[in-house]
Symmetry: C2
Subunit: 333 residues, 2 copies
C-alpha cells in the first residue's frame, strides 16, 4: 500500500531517486505529473527522436554513463545541424533488470550532459523488457519562426562543408570489436582511447548551431556515414556534388590507420557514428561561416561543391579518379 509522501512503487521510486534531480525545468513539474509543458516563447519547436538499442547502437559492456551521453548527444547533434537551441528532452528507458549501480551511473552521465548542453529532462517512461536495453530520446530545440535549417536547400555552387573529423567513431568501434584497426595502434593507448571515445561519446556541434542558421542553405548531421548522408542531402535538395577526397578532414589517428593500410577511404566515409555537421554554404558566405565556426571553437572544412544534376555525389582522389562505393551508409534493414 502507498506510503503517503513517499514514492510507493518500484518504478516511481527509481524515477524519484535517479531522474528527478535531472528535471530542473519548471515545465517538468519535478516529474510529478503525467506530462510536461514546453513553453514556446514565440519560437518554433524543433523535434527530433533517436533510439539506441544495446548491441546495435552501443555495446553491452560500454560504460553506462557513456551510453546515456550518447543517447542524448545523438539527438543534440540533430538539433545542432538544424540550427536549433536545445530546450529539453524526454526519455523512454526499457530495462531488463534494475541494477542500481548501473542506473546511478547512467543518470549521472545523462545529468552531466543535460546540464552542459542546457537541455533538461522534461519527462519520460521507464518500462521493463525481456530483451536488450533500449533508450529512446525525443529532444526539443527552439529556432526563430521558420528558422529551421532544412536538408533541402543546397544549391549548385554551394560549398560542401563538414565539421570536425570523419571516420574516427567507426575506427573506434572496430577497435572495440578487435578488428583490423586495433592492430594499427598496438602500443598507442592514447590514439586507441581517442577513437573509442569518439564512438562512445559523440561531440555534437551545438556551438555551431547559430552559424549554421546564419549561413547554411541546407544542413544535416552525419550519423549514418558521410557518403550516404551526403547522397540523402543531395537527393532531397535536387542537386549532386563533387567531393575532393583529400579534403575530407581526418584525425591524426585516422590518418595513421589510413596510411598503414588498415582502413580505406571508402570505409572512413561510410562508417557512421560521426555526429558531425554536413552543410551547404554559399560561396560568398564561406569566409563568414569559417570565422563564426572558429569563434565557436569548431573546425570546419570545405570538401567539395554542390553541382546541378541528379547523379549520386562523386568522390574523387588526387588523380581525379572516382572512388567506387559499394555501401555508402549504415542501414538497419
Amino acid at each position: 500500500m502507498a506510503t503517503p509522501g513517499a514514492p510507493a512503487f518500484g518504478e516511481d521510486s527509481l524515477i524519484a531517486r535517479y531522474f528527478k534531480p535531472l528535471a530542473t525545468d519548471a515545465g517538468a513539474f519535478g516529474l510529478s505529473d503525467d506530462t510536461a509543458v514546453l513553453k514556446a516563447l514565440g519560437e518554433d519547436i524543433v523535434v527530433t527522436t533517436d533510439a539506441l538499442v544495446e548491441g546495435v547502437h552501443f555495446l553491452a559492456d560500454d560504460p553506462p554513463d557513456t551510453i546515456a551521453r550518447k543517447a542524448l548527444r545523438v539527438n543534440l547533434s540533430d538539433l545542432a545541424a538544424k540550427g536549433a537551441t536545445p530546450a529539453g528532452f524526454v526519455l523512454s528507458l526499457a530495462l531488463r533488470k534494475v541494477d542500481e549501480a548501473w542506473l546511478a551511473a547512467f543518470a549521472r552521465g545523462l545529468g552531466a550532459d543535460a546540464a552542459d548542453f542546457n537541455c533538461p529532462l522534461l519527462g519520460g517512461d521507464t518500462v521493463s523488457t525481456p530483451g536488450p536495453l533500449m533508450i529512446s530520446i525525443t529532444a526539443f530545440g527552439r529556432v526563430p519562426p521558420n528558422g529551421m535549417v532544412r536538408r533541402s536547400g543546397a544549391r549548385p555552387g554551394d560549398h560542401v562543408v563538414v565539421s570536425g573529423t570523419i571516420g574516427d567513431a567507426a575506427l573506434g568501434l572496430d577497435i572495440l570489436k578487435r578488428g583490423r584497426v586495433a592492430a594499427a595502434f598496438g602500443g598507442d593507448a592514447a590514439a586507441r582511447d581517442l577513437l573509442i571515445s569518439r564512438y562512445r561519446v559523440p561531440q555534437p556541434r551545438n556551438a555551431l548551431a547559430s552559424a549554421v542558421r546564419a549561413h547554411a542553405h541546407a544542413a544535416m548531421d552525419v550519423s549514418d556515414g558521410l557518403a550516404g548522408d551526403l547522397a540523402k542531402l543531395c537527393r532531397v535538395s535536387g542537386v549532386s556534388a563533387v567531393i575532393d577526397l583529400k579534403s575530407v578532414p581526418l584525425s591524426e589517428a585516422a590518418s595513421i590507420a589510413l596510411a598503414a593500410g588498415f582502413v580505406g577511404m571508402a570505409e572512413i566515409i561510410s562508417g557512421g557514428d560521426d555526429y558531425e555537421i554536413l552543410c551547404a554554404i554559399p560561396q560568398d558566405a564561406l569566409e563568414d561561416f569559417a570565422v563564426a565556426a572558429q569563434a565557436a571553437g569548431v573546425a570546419v572544412s570545405p570538401i567539395g561543391t554542390f553541382i546541378a544534376g541528379d547523379s549520386p555525389p562523386k568522390w574523387l582522389d588526387v588523380e581525379g579518379k572516382e572512388l567506387p562505393l559499394t555501401r555508402t551508409s549504415y542501414s538497419h534493414f
Copy 2:
C-alpha cells in the same frame, strides 16, 4: 549506390512506403528531414511519452493495427487528461525483422487513429533490435498558456470523478491469457470480444479534454489501476479520498464477472490499462461538468470525495467497510 529520386536504403524505403503517408502536417516535411517543426501558435506545448514492449504491454499475437492504435492512444489519453488538444507525435519503432504485411497493417492502424484524433505523425526513428518489438511514442498537445491540468490541484471537498467504465481491460487481458475470467463468458462471444477490445484498443477520452480544462482542479489518466493512480493523485495533491465502491462504474460484462465471483472489486480497481480520466471536480462545478461530458458523449461518474489528510484513499463497500488492497497498481519493477 543511391538511386537519385528514390529511397535508396532499406530503412528509408520502409519509412517512405509505410509512414510518409501519415506525415500530413507541414511541419513533418514529408519525413524528408532529420527533425520536425511544431508551431506553438501562442499556446503551451504539452509533451507526453509512453513506450510499449511486446509481451509486457501487448501480446505478440495481438493484431498489428491494434498494437499501433494502442501505442498512440495511451499517449492521447495522457493529453486528454491534461486538457490538451492533440498536435502530433513522433514514433520510435524497434523491429526484430521486416515483415511487410505486419508493417502495412501497423501503419494502417496508426494512420487511421492519427486521422481520427487529428494527431499527425511528425517524425520518427526505425531501428533493428534482436529483442522484442518496442514502440515508443512521444505525443504533443496544445493548451492555452498555463492551461495544463495538473495532478496536484485536488482539494478537500472536490468530487472524485472517473470517465467510462473501470476494469474491462484487465478482464480482457485475463481472457486472452485464458485465466479465470474466460470461464465467465463461455458462450458469450460478444462480451468476450468487448473486454478484449478494451485491452487492445483503449478509448482515450479526448472528447472530454475541454470539459476537464474548464472544470477540473486536477486530473490524470487511469493507466496503472484506478486505486494506485488515485493514490498518486492524492499524494501529489496533498489530500486523501473516500470512495464508494458501488459507485465505481462497471460495464455489464464486468458486473457479470463480478457477480459470478470470477473477479473481485480489488482486482477491478487495480487491474490497469483502463485509459479513463480520473479528476477532481469542485462541488459547484459537477453539474456543468456532467452536462459538458454528456455533450461530448462521454459517461462520467462521481465515485467519492477528496478529503483533508495524507492517508491512502479508503475504498468503502455498502456496509462502510474498507476494502483491503494488497496491490494497488501495476509497477514494472
